[in-house]
Symmetry: C2
Subunit: 341 residues, 2 copies
DNA sequence: ATGAAAGCGCTAACAC
DNA sequence: GTGTTAGCGCTTTCAT
């Protein structure tokens, strides 16, 4: 059974394909097409299960109903959860998602953007790596709806959705300080991305304000856990005087826990812990790890809402918006000073 | 700057667009097009950064270079990791991925398949829910390349990639028995999917063989963790005599750990633990949880290899293959009997 | 109120 | 070797 086209059904019904097209696109009223005809067409279409070829439609209209989603790494639970939520909302609104992981690699990202353009995606949701400013700018210049999230590009004016990174780490660091910890390290990935810089700054500000000395360890991002745990191990062994460690991301945090376990360190007695991003690993660790929970649902919701908005308003120039969401600091056993101060 | 089409560049070079098309598609040799012309075209194309419109190409050729990937839930670390790996391989071979989560919902899946068809995806990778047999069959009947994974549909003859579920649970259950545990429960999601049934059977076989009594608890699948933890809690409270629990999936396992923590049970003294699927949560729990590690890379690799194969061989009727991979049972502290038997 | 026809950008049979 | 041309299936202007 060959798939039928609009022509087939037009022929079968002895009507012009134009009319069919109008009816199928809900413009029957507007075109004053006879109600009786409309029903007849509708009925037949349902009967044979005709579906317009969306490729042809896209070619003609220039709209693909596809949204491109570019995250750092889809296997990271943070991004996976957001992707899931965005996916749901997108499908409900008639959009499909094409996604991919950038690995924070500028060239790969550039290539992917080009692929997306080529595919005529209608909109872009991107957690951008550094160095991609020009590509994003040109996307925007060409009128493509773009929403950044998790971080933004200071030199590009776009809509973006973020959390209050600086306050989050400041606040959590302050908590450690209030608990009486003095030698607090901050371990993060080496990155100039805004969210990473803001987080680092929040930590620094808190220490500064309290007259404490910062210990910062930046690790080169890698897919290979060994390459993260190695430097972490070295760092922790070298700084025996530390009494608390702040992990800048969930990935660093997880690797950190593994290293701490392998070193046989006691939490929080030997070392207190706080990590960015909250997820099961932290909740189930013994003791559970204090963590900064990002409002995943709110982020996904904001992102897709903003994008759908841009997609639906024909007007090119709505002023772009920045949405900054609050995080939720979950204080748990890993950062509570033992009673005998 | 308007995006240019093949016609523009043909005009600009005073050549027919056919010639351009041939050159761009690497058929210059075959068509004996002058090397000099080829170079000239190539140079100009590079210069202006011309990219063929893939929509038009797809419309014409019927190929979209898109693979549809349907998993149960992209935010589940197992599926997220596999998706990531498949994505990489697919991109390297010139394919993009459109993915979505089925939630094990037959109707949703049916709709998604229809969307994929409509989008003319070139191939399908599916972790199928129950009840979707007919849709898959018709896909195959129409000559679409389909690879199932994680589970299969007994009534449909397709290529699929799976692990040896039955042996995996049998083996791990035997381990518990050898450690001296007598009252071993198996907690899983209620499901008739092959992998779930096989896992359950492996457990039953082991108990049978050892003359032990099974305790089986099936939980209704849900996105909402509360709805999983509730029944779990009830079950554990009701069966105080249990000395070991086997979790049938990573999700059940994670929820199980939360419940065990909230109940204040000691692992493995109060309760020994084994779970299907290995991931960070299990590795970092105290004590670390014995787990059946699926060979993620091998699964992803097999899936995409099989699919690419089907995509590239024009022949319709290669006999379909089933690939069954081995798992790796990681024995850890959660299932070792305390020394004083 | 309905239909004819142009055209979105590309490929490939078929001429020349 | 290179160009002409007919679609792929759809939307939309314009004429009737």
């Amino acid at each position: 059974m060959k798939k039928l086209s609009i022509v087939d059904i037009a022929n079968h019904l002895n009507v012009s394909k134009t009319t069919i097209s109008f009816i199928l696109n809900g413009r029957a009223q507007e075109k004053r097409i006879g109600k009786e005809l409309v029903d007849r067409v509708q009925k037949f279409v349902d009967e044979v299960g005709y579906k317009p070829n969306s490729l042809a439609k896209s070619l003609r209209t220039g709209k693909s109903n596809i949204i491109g989603l570019m995250v750092e790494d889809i296997s990271n639970p943070f991004f996976a959860s957001i992707a899931r939520l965005i996916e749901d909302r997108a499908y409900k609104n008639g959009y499909k998602i094409i996604y991919c992981s950038t690995d924070n690699d500028t060239n790969k990202t550039r290539e992917l953007i080009s692929m997306f353009r080529d595919r005529h995606v209608d909109g872009y949701i991107i957690a951008p790596p550094e160095g991609i400013e020009d590509d994003i700018s040109s996307l925007i210049k060409d009128g493509m709806p773009v929403v950044l999230f998790d971080r933004h590009l200071p030199k590009v004016s776009t809509d973006f959705v973020e959390i209050d990174n600086l306050f989050s780490t400041y606040n959590a660091t302050m908590h450690l300080i209030q608990q009486g910890y003095k030698n607090i390290a901050y371990i993060t990935f080496a990155s100039n991305q805004t969210q990473m810089q803001d987080r680092l700054q929040g930590y620094k500000d808190a220490l500064d304000e309290s007259g404490l000395k910062p210990f910062i360890q930046e690790i080169v991002f890698s897919q290979n856990e060994e390459l993260i745990m190695g430097p972490l191990n070295t760092f922790l062994k070298k700084h025996k005087n530390l009494d608390a460690v702040f992990f800048g991301t969930n990935h660093v945090g997880t690797c950190g826990l593994k290293v701490i376990n392998s070193l046989g360190l006691k939490v929080p007695d030997d070392l207190a812990l706080v990590s960015f991003d909250d997820y099961d690993v932290f909740k189930l660790f013994s003791p559970p790890v204090s963590a900064i929970a990002q409002p995943i649902e709110a982020i996904a919701d904001s992102v897709i809402t903003v994008l759908l908005n841009k997609l639906n308003t024909s007007s090119q120039h709505i002023s772009s918006q920045s949405i900054i969401l609050k995080t939720d600091f979950q204080i748990r056993g890993s950062s509570k000073k033992a009673d005998k101060a």
